[in-house]
């Protein structure tokens, strides 16, 4: 299944409180995603909380968009990505 990076922009900043509500919110995202066979792997949030970069595994970009719709999340851009790590190539030259 491909991996996608999804960029989102929140004009008022993304606010997920570290409370039960916040936990509920995250779990409900996971549940809605499952309907489209989409898995939320991890997100990176900008310091001002206005931009997020979210890593997802999913079958197609359309599934990503439908899952976002179920969760009322905006989608600015979707890019297919692979992991690249500074230490991947260590040992390759020897």
């Amino acid at each position: 299944m491909p991996r996608y990076m999804v960029e989102r922009t929140f004009a008022d900043g993304l606010e997920i409180p570290t409370t039960t509500t916040g936990a509920e919110v995250c779990l409900s995202v996971v549940g809605n995603n499952a309907q489209e066979q989409v898995t939320w792997v991890q997100s990176f949030v900008s310091a001002d909380k206005q931009k997020t970069f979210c890593v997802y595994d999913g079958p197609t970009p359309e599934a990503i968009r439908r899952a976002a719709g179920l969760n009322s999340l905006p989608v600015d851009a979707i890019t297919e990505v692979r992991v690249l790590d500074p230490y991947f190539y260590v040992g390759a030259a020897s």
């Binding site: 509500t21 968009r65 009322s72 999340l73």
Partner: protein, 863 residues
């Protein structure tokens, strides 16, 4: 009969039958290897059901080529079924299926519908299994189908039916019969001298093999065949001959035939029955199992076996209504060309009439393998019939060589009508392989046939030629041939050719001429078809209207026609037609800017079906991704392009346009030219305004041409002429918002660019929107709107499914009590949900929540 270790399966079937009695019908597919006891299971179950259900049973036979609708004919033969009149009616297969299904809905008792050995089923019976399997859930019937799963490989015709039924339907149950356990084998062997462990080792627990061995003497033979033959060899000679002749018949043999063929008397038959080698079934003799029959037949000396098949044919021929498929089967087994010639073509004709075209193909193939003694003319006629049937089952390419031979034969003779027909068949075979040659063959056919007084062959040849020209989007030749087809057909009063000529003329007008006139002509053809009861033409003609209308961008009408085609085709399980029409709906949704719909519809088209279905669906999906800037657009378009390699321009140009757009949005001008490739030149070679327009636009964007090519469709032509305002208005009139925005974006006018940006942002067309923003900055505009950002109050409104339901009802204006009763929860729980929703949305009142719901696209607002 002792039936071991089948209690669970029998209980499961009982459950399904009880559910069916309650109105929830289902299909049980029972699979297992040969000899595992599928028939025994079914018979045991039917006996246990007794009068509790109406039992309709039929089975498929191991004929070389099966008889069409054999199991259905079995069922109809049972007077309790009351199906006799429906079947005898010579109705088209789907009418028969519908009538049968209506009976299943109408009965008071539940129905147990049994179809055995569907791995041997003919095409029409397979269609029935699929038809009934899809619709059985709302009847009170349990349908049980058995088959040998070890004989159904990936290419087997049953495979797609199984795949289709089992995948998405929860009323389809798959059961698998397992071999007996050592304990069960031991139980069966109790009281004999046979060692249970050895018995299990030799048989693997296969029930038939076990019982055969136990019925013989104590020695355990190496194979099932040996076990069977050992028993046969213990019979006296006359009884043995009875058994041998019975093995020649594929299913069962009337006892009087058996005695006649064997030169023995009924007493000998009785001895064979008493020894348990064959069983009596009414007036017929039968083997207990196909394995036994096959073993005995194979053991007969070949010369004798062939002689028996011959004599069987002689006996069967005396029947009033001979079973043609069976006669063909025996004829094929004799290897005698004259006999095959006598029977196979007739069986082919019956199969064709019954709609079993795959079987017709097989019978004719058999006939063509035994052509000794036939004249050149007779061989050529067989070849042409075979080619005709191959075309119907969508394998025209296989008849290229055969039709070429027929043409060569008739060329050396003086029968010009036959030569003309052969050339037309050859043209049909060539169409997907070499369109140029196909055209030439058809031209020659018409020339040859025109030298004769006009007849059906000329009318059909003219239709086919017009059809080829229409597919190539060549207006004048298409109209000329179609018009002449209509005239000739009227003259000779061939109304079916008249209708298809009319339809083809109309289609040509729609795609390359006067669309309104074309639509009227196709409608006329449909009206005539309805009068004549020609349902086929209605579906094809509506398809022409839908896809032709879509190509010239008359969206509202096209959508209506395509939806009508889908409704009709779904009723008759015409999956290919449903797929193509759905793919077209995807394309139209794409062009109209409804990109979610386009992606959803494209995904519905089953991959690996017809080529043009995949090409059209992948084209729509790829173009959506390109316009959104989503990954996977170019890949999908490249796949569509590869599939469309040998197809007509109208299947290639949307993909080329998509790839060109992809290159352009990345600033890759060289890429635009290589994406279009030869398709612009091809477009100029056709008379299609929309092909000239779309291909021309990209050549214009790439700087290859300065202005619109002649005959380009209006919105495109205006764009290429630099009249962006008129072009945008034209695109708006057609209903293509993205193209409207791109026309506005061609300008250097601030307001136009802002309007373009607004449209593109609304559509989610990020790459194009970014281009417009760049252009605005380059032009020195200082009010360039940034990328849109979602304004979300408080936390992103991430609701659970239940909370979304509640919000929808709040938005409709319901009170907590009303919500509670709607959702079958307590008012207190409803109240909790409403509070949670308000909190998550960050609003303080139900009204504000309703407004938020509207913005989120939840619910339709107050009723």
């Amino acid at each position: 009969m002792l039936v071991l270790e089948r209690d669970e399966v029998l209980a499961e079937l009982r459950r399904y039958l009880d559910e069916a009695a309650g109105g929830a019908g289902s299909l049980a597919l029972v699979a297992g290897e040969a000899g595992i006891g599928k028939t025994t299971l079914v018979r045991t179950f039917a006996a246990a059901v007794g009068d509790g259900a109406l039992v309709l049973a039929g089975s498929c036979d191991p004929l070389t080529t099966p008889r069409p609708m054999s199991p259905l004919l079995d069922m109809a033969a049972d007077p309790d079924s009351h199906l006799g009149d429906v079947v005898a009616d010579d109705a088209a297969p789907y009418e028969l299926f519908v009538a049968l299904l209506d009976r299943l809905r109408a009965t008071v008792r539940p129905t147990l519908l049994v179809v055995e050995d569907i791995h041997w089923a003919d095409e029409v019976s397979l269609d029935f299994v699929r038809f009934a399997g899809r619709r059985i859930a709302d009847t009170n019937a349990l349908m049980v189908c058995t088959y040998r799963d070890d004989e159904v490989g990936p290419e087997h015709p049953l495979q797609p039916v199984l795949g289709d039924l089992a995948s998405s339907r929860d009323w389809v149950h798959r059961l698998h019969l397992e071999p007996l356990t050592p304990a069960a084998v031991a139980e069966l062997a109790a009281g004999t001298e046979v060692d249970p462990a050895e018995l299990f080792a030799a048989t693997g627990g296969n029930p038939f093999f076990v019982t055969e061995i136990l019925a013989g003497d104590e020695e355990i033979p190496a194979s099932v065949a040996d076990a069977v033959l050992a028993r046969v060899n213990r019979l006296d000679e006359a009884a043995r001959r009875i058994v041998e002749v019975t093995s020649i018949a594929p299913r069962s043999l009337a006892a009087e035939y058996a005695t006649s063929l064997a030169g023995a008397d009924l007493a000998a038959a009785e001895r064979a029955v008493n020894a348990g080698v064959v069983v009596g079934a009414g007036p017929d003799l039968r083997f207990r199992h196909e394995l036994a029959r096959g073993a005995v037949e194979a053991s007969i000396l070949e010369a004798r076996r062939i002689a028996l098949h011959r004599r069987m044919i002689a006996l069967l021929e005396e029947d009033d209504t001979p079973d043609l498929a069976r006669l063909a089967h025996h004829a094929a087994r004799t290897g005698d060309d004259a006999l095959v010639q006598l029977h196979a073509p007739l069986a082919a004709e019956e199969a064709a009439v019954r709609g079993a075209h795959h079987q017709a193909v097989e019978f004719l193939a058999t006939a063509l393998e035994h052509t000794d003694g036939l004249s050149g003319d007779e061989i050529a006629e067989l070849q042409l019939r075979y080619a005709w049937e191959l075309y119907i089952v969508n394998r025209p390419g296989e008849s290229v060589d055969l039709t070429a031979e027929a043409v060569a034969h008739y060329r050396s003779g003086s029968d010009e009508e036959a030569l003309g027909r052969a050339l037309t068949m050859h043209s049909r075979a060539l169409w997907n392989v070499d369109p140029q040659q196909a055209h030439e063959a058809e031209r020659e056919a018409i020339a040859v046939l025109s030298r004769q007084p006009p007849g059906e062959s000329l009318a059909y040849a003219l239709y086919f030629s017009a059809h080829l020209h229409m597919l190539s989007r060549r207006h004048e030749p298409a109209v000329a041939d179609a018009t002449r087809c209509i005239e000739v057909s009227r003259e000779i009063e061939s109304w079916s050719n008249y209708r298809i000529g009319l339809m083809t003329l109309g289609t040509a007008e729609v795609v390359t001429g006067d669309a309104d006139r074309g639509i009227a002509l196709i409608r006329e053809a449909i009206a005539l078809a309805d009068e004549a009861g020609d349902y086929r033409l209605r579906v094809v003609a509506l398809g022409m209207l839908g896809t032709g209308g879509g190509e010239i961008r008359r969206y509202d009408a096209a959508i209506a026609w395509l939806e009508e085609v889908i409704a009709m085709a779904e009723r008759y399980d015409e999956d290919y037609t449903v797929g193509y029409s759905t793919a077209w709906l995807a394309r139209i949704a794409f062009e109209q800017g409804r990109w979610d719909d386009a992606a959803r519809l494209a995904a519905q088209v089953v991959r690996g079906g017809a080529l043009i279905n995949d090409i059209t669906a992948l084209g729509a999906l790829g173009r959506v991704r390109v316009r959104r800037g989503d990954p996977g657009g170019a890949e999908v378009l490249a796949e569509a392009r590869a599939l469309a390699q040998n197809q007509e321009l109208q299947h290639r140009w949307p993909t080329s346009a998509g790839l060109a757009e992809h290159a352009w949005l990345r600033g890759d001008e060289e890429g635009i030219r290589s994406a279009i490739g030869a398709d612009f030149a091809k477009a100029l070679d056709t008379d299609s305004p929309w092909a000239r327009g779309e291909m021309g636009l990209w050549m214009w964007r790439a700087g290859v041409i300065d202005g619109p090519p002649g005959g380009a469709a209006e919105p495109f032509a205006l764009q290429m002429a630099g009249q962006w305002k008129a072009a945008a208005a034209a695109w708006r009139a057609v209903g293509c918002p993205y193209d409207e925005a791109m026309a506005l974006a061609d300008s250097a006018d601030g307001d136009a660019l802002l309007a373009a940006l607004e449209i593109l942002q609304r559509l989610g067309a990020s790459p194009a929107a970014d281009r417009v923003r760049s252009k605005m900055r380059r032009l020195g505009m200082d009010n360039v709107p940034p990328r849109p950002r979602r304004r979300v109050r408080g936390a992103p409104a991430i609701l659970t499914a239940r909370q979304r339901e509640v919000l929808e009802l709040v938005a409709e204006g319901l009170t907590n009590a009303e919500i509670a009763s709607r959702l079958y929860i307590s008012p207190k729980t409803a109240g909790h949900h409403v509070s949670a929703v308000l909190r998550k949305l960050g609003v303080r009142s139900r009204t504000e929540a309703a407004a938020a719901a509207l913005k989120m696209g939840i619910g339709n607002g107050p009723e």
